[in-house]
């Protein structure tokens, strides 16, 4: 597959992944701050969780697979900008894992509060994706 096609699908997958993570971020903050749950919110948890499992997670996997394919084809694994970008991508993936587990816990009705750092996850995601975009487009080093 040509580089431009790979890039187009990679960017599409990243948008799906990051969009889903932002939805989860705001939803987790909302549910955590509005206990006990209002009527109908349990259904909302199921909807957000289903979106995370059926859209956000596959988008993350697709973005990783396509990104790795592009990096191998272009020989970027020796570039420092890619190493920094990979650290940020691993951080985002780990954050998504915590979000996904938290949604599962909420769906089970568990009482334990989610980790406190999830309150700031939306800002962290936006800052990370801004840095990733600069690294991937400008390739400063």
């Amino acid at each position: 597959m040509g580089y431009l096609w790979l890039k187009a699908f990679h960017v599409t997958a990243v948008i799906g992944w990051i969009g889903g993570m932002l939805v989860s971020s705001l939803f987790i903050v909302h549910v955590t701050s509005s206990r006990p749950l209002a009527a109908g919110e349990s259904r909302m948890i199921e909807i957000v969780r289903a979106w995370d499992w059926k859209v956000t997670t596959p988008a993350m996997l697709l973005a990783s697979a396509l990104g790795m394919t592009m990096a191998v084809q272009a020989g970027w694994f020796s570039s420092r900008w890619l190493m920094v970008k990979l650290v940020l991508v691993f951080g985002l993936s780990a954050l998504h894992g915590v979000q996904s587990g938290t949604l599962r816990r909420m769906a089970r009705g568990a009482n334990r509060s989610p980790p406190g750092f999830l309150r700031h996850s939306a800002s962290a995601i936006l800052m990370a994706i801004a840095a990733i975009a600069i690294l991937a487009v400008v390739k400063p080093f």
């Binding site: 996997l61 990783s64 697979a65 790795m68 394919t69 191998v72 691993f90 993936s93 780990a94 998504h96 894992g97 915590v98 979000q99 996904s100 587990g101 938290t102 949604l103 599962r104 816990r105 089970r108 334990r112 980790p115």
Partner: protein, 93 residues
């Protein structure tokens, strides 16, 4: 195992690096997926730090997955409610 027993000998003994260039990234993706699933699982359930460390450390040891098989099966059964969730993994075998 395909990487260790087929692709790596093909590269270093037979001089054919093509197999490692295919199976290597697949192995990398599978490892990253395992770590992601571990983070997702421990965030959604009550795993002790010892259990998390075991699941992570064994992943770095060759064939360590086989050592974790029974432990993970027990966690799966506990999650399904077949055994008490309080039951911890044992070290008897």
């Amino acid at each position: 195992m395909a990487l260790l027993f087929v692709a790596v000998p093909l590269k270093h003994i037979a001089g054919h690096p093509a197999a490692t260039s295919i199976i290597g990234p697949i192995h990398g993706m599978a490892f990253l997926l395992y770590v992601w699933m571990l983070i997702q699982t421990v965030s959604g359930a009550d795993w002790s730090r010892a259990e998390i460390a075991r699941a992570l450390i064994v992943a770095f040891i060759p064939f360590g997955a086989f050592a974790n098989e029974r432990f993970l099966k027990r966690k799966e059964l506990a999650l399904a409610g077949s055994v008490s969730p309080e039951r911890k993994w044992d070290t008897s075998g």
